[in-house]
C-alpha cells in the first residue's frame, strides 16, 4: 500500500518534471517546422503538408472544421477544399466525419464544424439558420439527381420497366424473403432525402420499403444485382462515380413539381437538386480568407467524379485531391480570388 503510494507519487513528480521539460521551448520540432528553412515533416499524417514556398503566415486564416460525409463524392470535394485551404492559405483544418443533416447542423451550432461543402437537404437546415448558427453560402456547382434505379441489364431485357407507373407489372421479379409477397424497394440511407413511401402509396405500387440503413448496403445490392443478373430496385443518385463502374438505369416518374420533400405528392419524380454550401455564421463573419474560399468554391459533377474515381481506385483522398489541384491551377486560382493569395 505504502509502496504503491510512493509509486503514484513518483509518477506525479515525473509527470511534473516531464511537463516542465516539455514546456521549456527553444528549438523543438514545432518551431523547426514553422520556420521555412527546416524540412517539412512529411511523415506527419495530422500536420498540413507545409509547402514553404506558398505558405503565408498561418495566423491569417485560423482554425476551421470541415464536415466529412460518407459518400465518396463528398469526400472528394471536401478534401480538395481542405487541401487548398491548408496549402494556399495556411489554414488549420480539422475534418470531422459525421452523418449528414441534423447531426452536422448540431455540430456547427456547437462550433466543432464550420463548413458543409455539399448539402442535399433541401432547406432542412432552416431552423438552424433562424437561430443564427448557419448561413447558406450559395451553390457548389454540382447538380444532384436522386431516383430509383435498376441494373442496366434489366432495362435491356424489359424496355418499359423505366416507366415508374408500370412497375407493378414487374413486382414479382423483385420479391425477396425480406419483402414477402410484394416487390422489394430498397430505400435510401437514413439522412438522404427520400420519398419512397409516398411514391408507392400515390402510384398504388405493390412494393414494400426496405430501409437499407447505409449507402454501403445499396452499393452491395446493386453490385450483386449486376454481377449475378439479380433483379434489384433501389435508391441511388448522381453524381456518383459508382455509376461508372456498375451501369444502372433510372426508373422515371412524371416530371417533378416539388422542391420540399415534405410537400411532395408522391405522384411525381425527384427533382434535380442544385447542391448547396453551408457554413457557420462564425466563419462567414470572421473575415478569414477561408470564408472567401468557401464562398468561391465551385466544381462540376465531372470535377468531382475525377477525384472520386481516383479515391475509389486506391489513392488516398489526399493524393487524389492533390492530383486534381495540380491539374487544375486556373480553377484553384479562381477560388482564391479575393484572398490576397494566388
Amino acid at each position: 500500500m505504502k509502496r504503491v503510494g510512493k509509486g503514484a507519487g513518483l509518477v506525479v513528480t515525473l509527470a511534473a518534471a516531464g511537463l516542465a521539460l516539455a514546456a521549456c521551448g527553444g528549438g523543438t520540432v514545432n518551431e523547426a517546422a514553422s520556420s521555412s528553412a527546416a524540412p517539412a515533416p512529411a511523415e506527419s499524417s495530422a500536420a498540413a503538408p507545409a509547402e514553404s514556398s506558398a505558405a503565408p503566415a498561418p495566423a491569417d486564416c485560423g482554425s476551421w472544421g470541415v464536415a466529412m460525409h460518407a459518400w465518396v463524392g463528398y469526400t472528394a470535394s471536401a478534401q480538395v477544399l481542405s487541401d487548398v485551404a491548408r496549402e494556399k492559405l495556411g489554414c488549420d483544418i480539422t475534418q470531422t466525419t459525421l452523418d449528414e443533416a441534423g447531426v452536422t447542423y448540431d455540430a456547427m451550432e456547437a462550433g466543432s464544424v464550420d463548413v458543409i461543402i455539399e448539402d442535399w437537404g433541401g432547406g432542412r437546415w432552416q431552423e438552424w439558420v433562424d437561430r443564427g448558427a448557419i448561413v447558406e453560402v450559395g451553390l457548389n456547382g454540382n447538380v444532384g439527381l436522386i431516383g430509383m434505379y435498376v441494373p442496366q441489364w434489366m432495362c435491356d431485357e424489359y424496355p418499359d420497366i423505366t416507366d415508374g407507373t408500370k412497375l407493378n407489372e414487374y413486382a414479382d421479379l423483385f420479391k425477396t424473403p425480406e419483402s414477402g409477397d410484394k416487390g422489394a424497394w430498397l430505400e435510401g440511407p437514413p439522412g438522404y432525402t427520400t420519398i419512397g413511401e409516398k411514391l408507392i402509396e400515390a402510384n398504388g405500387l405493390n412494393y414494400k420499403i426496405i430501409n437499407t440503413g447505409s449507402e454501403a448496403a445499396l452499393i452491395e445490392a446493386f453490385t450483386k444485382g449486376n454481377d449475378n443478373k439479380e433483379a434489384v430496385l433501389g435508391y441511388f443518385y448522381e453524381p456518383q462515380n459508382f455509376l461508372a463502374k456498375v451501369p444502372l438505369c433510372r426508373i422515371n416518374f412524371p416530371a417533378n413539381d416539388w422542391t420540399d420533400a415534405a410537400k411532395a405528392s408522391g405522384l411525381t419524380d425527384y427533382p434535380e437538386t442544385p447542391l448547396v454550401k453551408l457554413a457557420t455564421v462564425k466563419l462567414m463573419d470572421s473575415g478569414s480568407p477561408f470564408a472567401t474560399l468557401v464562398q468561391n468554391f465551385e466544381c462540376t459533377n465531372e470535377d468531382q467524379n475525377q477525384v472520386a474515381l481516383d479515391i475509389e481506385s486506391g489513392m488516398t483522398p489526399e493524393e487524389a485531391a492533390q492530383k486534381w489541384i495540380d491539374a487544375n491551377p486556373d480553377k484553384v486560382a479562381a477560388w482564391l480570388e479575393g484572398t490576397g493569395v494566388s
Binding site: A22, A46, D106, L186, N211
Partner: protein, 651 residues
C-alpha cells in the same frame, strides 16, 4: 416429486399459450398490426418531436442551458482536451502534441511499471508500438486520452457512491434500479438525447461513456466494501476508531484490490464505447471504423478495429497486473524493495530523456513512416474479405433466405403481423407463467407503454430478431462453452478469439456481413450472434468448470458416457450460469440488433438512426430509444425467471 409436477404444469401451460397464440395469429394475420410508415408520427412521437425542437431552440437562452448544461459541457470538454493536448492533438500550427510519440510511449511504460511490473511495462510499450505500426498512433492516442479522461471522471463519481452504497444498504436500494436500467440500455439509445442537450462532440461522447461505465464501477466497489470480513472492522471499532478511521484505515485498504478491479472494468467499458462515440463526433479510432462502413473499405476498418483490440488488451493486462501486484506485494523482501526503487529511478530518468528527445528530434516526435504497415495489413484484410464474399456468397445467401422464409418470417408473423392485443396478452401470460405474478404485471405495464409510444410494430420486429439471435447465441454458447469448460486446451485456443470478439467493435464486421448477407434482417441477426456469443461461451465455460470434480468423477466411474456426463451432471449443475448466460446474451444481442438498422434490418434501430439525421423524424428516434429501453427491461425480467429461493439477492 411435487416440484417436478409443478414444473411440468408450467411447461404445459406455456405450451398451450404458444399454440393458441400461433393459431389465432395465423387466422388474424395483418389485422390491427399498428404498422406505421417511417414518415408518419404517432401522437407520442409528435410530442417528442416538438420537445426536441424546443430543446434545440432553447439551447442559447434557457436557464437550464446557460447555467447547467453548457457549463457542464465546457468543463468536460476542457478536461478531456488537457489529456488530448499532452499526447494526441497538436496545438494550432504545431506538428506534435506536447509529447512526441516516443516520449508518450516511454511514459506509458513508466506508469505501467510504477503500478505493476517491469515485464508488464515492456509488454505495454510493445503493444502501443504495434498500434503505431498499424499507422494509428495519433488516433490511438486520441482514444487513449478520451478513455483516460472519461475513466477519471467516472471514478470521481462512482468510487464515493460505490463506497457509500457498500456501507449503507438503503443507498444501494435507491441506486439499484438505476444500475439495472443502465446495464440493459443499448448504447446507441442515449446518443440522440445526449447530443440534443450537450451537442455533438467530445462532451456528449464522454458523458455517454460515463453513463455506461459508472454503474459497473459502483457495483464492483459496493460489492468490494460489502463482502469484507467483519473481524478486523469490529476490532477497529472496539478499539475506539471513528467511522471515518474505520473506512480509511481498514475497509478501503482491505478492499483495495477489488477496487482496482473496478478501475479495470471501468476502463474496458469506456474503451468499448469509442466506436459508438464516433457517431456523435468523438475523435479517435472510432472514426476510421465508421468511415469504413460508409465507403466500404473493410481493410481500413479492420486496421482501426485491431488497434482498438490491442489498446484494450494493453489496458486490461496492465490494470489486472496492478491488481495482482497489489495482492502479492505485501510480502516482498526489503532487498526487492530497494531494487525496485532503483529500477523506478532509472526508468524515470530514461522517461525524461525520451520526452526530451521526442520534443527535439523529428524521428522521436512524429511516428516514422518507415515503420508504418497500415497498407499491407489493410490490403490483406480486404483480400480475405473479398475471398469470403466471392467464394462463400452462394452458401450464405441460400442459408439466410431459407432461414428467413422458414423461421424468421413465421415468427415475425406471429409477433408483429398479428393484432397488437393478441401479442400483448400472449407475452403477458407467458411472463406470468414463466416468471411469476410480479413480473407478469410489470411486463403488462411495460407493453402498454410500448403501445403508447405508437411504435408497437417496430418493437415487435426488433423483438423477433432479438429472440432468434439469442436462440443462436445460446446454442453456440452451450456447445462451445461446455467444450471449453471440459478441456483447457480448447479453452486456451478459444480465448484470444473471445477476447477479440468482445473488444472488436461490431461496426468493423458490419461491411463483410453486409457483403455476405445483403441488407437483410438476417445480417442484423448475424451481427448480434457474433457480438454476444463470446460472453455466453465464457459464462457457460466458467459454470462447467466450477462443477465439483467429485461429481464428474463419480459419474464416470459409474460408467456414464461423455454425453451422459454432460447432460446429467455438468449441465444441470451449471444451470445457474447457463441462465445467467441466456440473460446476458439477450441484453448483448439487443444492443447490437439495434445497430442492424445500419444494414437494412429496419425496426427500432433504424428509427434511432434516422431520427439522428432527419430533424423532422427526431421524435420517432427518441421514442424508438424509449421503446428499446422498455423492450430491454421486459426481456431482462422474463429471462431472470422466477425469483430463486436462497441467498440470491432479489431486485
Amino acid at each position: 416429486m411435487d416440484v417436478t409436477a409443478v414444473l411440468r404444469l408450467r411447461w404445459v401451460q406455456a405450451l398451450i399459450v404458444l399454440v393458441v397464440w400461433f393459431v389465432t395469429a395465423t387466422a388474424l394475420k395483418g389485422v390491427q398490426t399498428q404498422e406505421l410508415s417511417t414518415a408518419t408520427d404517432s401522437p407520442f412521437t409528435a410530442i417528442m418531436r416538438d420537445a426536441a425542437a424546443s430543446i434545440r431552440g432553447n439551447r442559447t437562452e434557457s436557464f437550464l442551458f446557460v447555467y447547467v448544461f453548457n457549463p457542464i459541457r465546457t468543463v468536460i470538454s476542457g478536461f478531456i482536451e488537457i489529456f488530448m493536448g499532452v499526447i494526441a492533438v497538436p496545438a494550432d500550427g504545431n506538428v506534435i502534441p506536447l509529447l512526441g510519440w516516443f516520449g508518450t510511449l516511454v511514459l506509458i511504460g513508466f506508469i505501467v511499471y510504477a503500478t505493476s511490473t517491469l515485464r508488464m511495462a515492456l509488454v505495454s510499450m510493445f503493444l502501443m508500438l504495434l498500434c503505431g505500426m498499424l499507422g494509428m498512433w495519433l488516433l490511438t492516442m486520441e482514444t487513449l486520452a478520451m478513455t483516460i479522461g472519461a475513466v477519471v471522471l467516472s471514478l470521481v463519481i462512482a468510487l464515493p457512491l460505490g463506497v457509500w452504497a457498500g456501507l449503507n444498504d438503503r443507498v444501494m436500494k435507491v441506486l439499484r434500479p438505476w444500475l439495472d436500467l443502465a446495464q440493459v440500455l443499448p448504447t446507441l439509445v442515449y446518443l440522440a438525447p445526449l447530443a440534443l442537450v450537450f451537442l455533438i462532440g467530445i462532451a456528449s461522447a464522454t458523458i455517454a461513456t460515463m453513463i455506461y461505465s459508472i454503474p459497473i464501477c459502483i457495483r464492483i466497489t459496493a460489492h468490494a466494501i460489502k463482502s469484507l470480513k467483519h473481524g478486523p472492522i469490529e476490532a477497529a471499532e472496539s478499539a475506539g476508531s471513528t467511522r471515518w478511521q474505520v473506512l480509511t484505515k481498514v475497509q478501503l485498504p482491505m478492499a483495495k484490490s477489488t477496487i482496482i478491479l473496478a478501475v479495470n472494468q471501468t476502463t474496458l467499458a469506456a474503451l468499448s464505447f469509442v466506436v459508438i462515440a464516433a457517431l456523435i463526433g468523438a475523435p479517435g479510432l472510432g472514426k476510421p471504423v465508421v468511415e469504413a462502413l460508409t465507403i466500404r473499405n473493410v481493410g481500413d476498418g479492420v486496421v482501426a478495429g485491431l488497434a482498438v483490440v490491442i489498446l484494450a488488451v494493453m489496458l486490461d493486462r496492465s490494470t489486472s497486473a496492478a491488481v495482482s501486484r497489489d495482492q502479492s506485494g505485501y510480502a516482498a523482501a526489503d532487498a526487492a524493495k530497494v531494487r525496485r526503487r532503483i529500477g523506478l529511478a532509472i526508468f524515470g530518468v530514461l522517461t525524461l530523456i525520451a520526452i526530451y528527445l521526442s520534443r527535439y528530434l523529428l524521428v522521436f516526435a512524429v511516428f516514422p513512416e518507415r515503420l508504418n504497415f497500415q497498407e499491407p495489413v489493410a490490403e490483406a484484410a480486404n483480400a480475405v474479405s473479398d475471398w469470403i464474399t466471392d467464394n462463400l456468397g452462394f452458401l450464405t445467401v441460400t442459408g439466410s433466405e431459407f432461414f428467413t422464409v422458414w423461421v424468421l418470417n413465421p415468427l415475425q408473423d406471429v409477433l408483429a403481423n398479428s393484432p397488437w392485443w393478441l401479442t400483448l396478452i400472449a407475452i403477458t401470460l407467458l411472463a406470468f407463467i414463466l416468471a411469476g405474478r410480479t413480473v407478469g404485471i410489470l411486463v403488462l405495464v411495460l407493453l402498454a407503454l410500448v403501445m403508447a409510444t405508437g411504435l408497437w410494430n417496430d418493437t415487435m420486429l426488433t423483438l423477433a430478431m432479438t429472440l432468434i439471435a439469442t436462440g443462436f447465441v445460446v446454442i453456440i454458447g452451450i456447445v462451445l462453452g461446455v467444450w471449453a469448460g471440459r478441456s483447457s486446451r480448447v479453452d486456451r485456443f478459444l480465448r484470444p478469439f473471445l477476447d477479440a470478439g468482445q473488444t472488436m467493435p461490431a461496426f468493423v464486421y458490419l461491411v463483410p456481413v453486409l457483403a455476405l448477407f445483403g441488407p437483410t434482417r438476417f445480417a442484423a441477426i448475424v451481427l448480434g450472434v457474433v457480438y454476444a456469443a463470446p460472453v455466453v461461451i465464457r459464462i457457460v465455460a466458467d459454470g462447467v468448470r466450477k462443477v465439483p470434480k467429485e461429481s464428474v468423477e463419480a459419474a464416470i466411474s459409474a460408467g456414464s458416457t461423455n454425453l451422459q456426463v454432460i447432460t446429467k451432471v455438468q449441465l444441470p449443475v451449471a444451470r445457474r450460469s447457463i441462465l445467467l448466460g441466456v440473460n446476458q446474451g439477450l441484453i448483448f444481442v439487443l444492443a447490437v440488433v439495434v445497430i442492424g438498422g445500419f444494414v437494412g434490418a429496419g425496426g427500432l434501430g433504424y428509427l434511432v438512426i434516422v431520427g439522428q439525421s432527419k430533424p423532422e423524424l427526431a421524435g420517432k428516434g427518441l421514442a424508438a430509444g424509449i421503446a428499446i429501453v422498455l423492450l430491454g427491461i421486459i426481456l431482462d425480467r422474463i429471462a431472470q425467471g422466477r425469483p430463486q429461493k436462497g441467498p440470491q439477492d432479489r431486485h
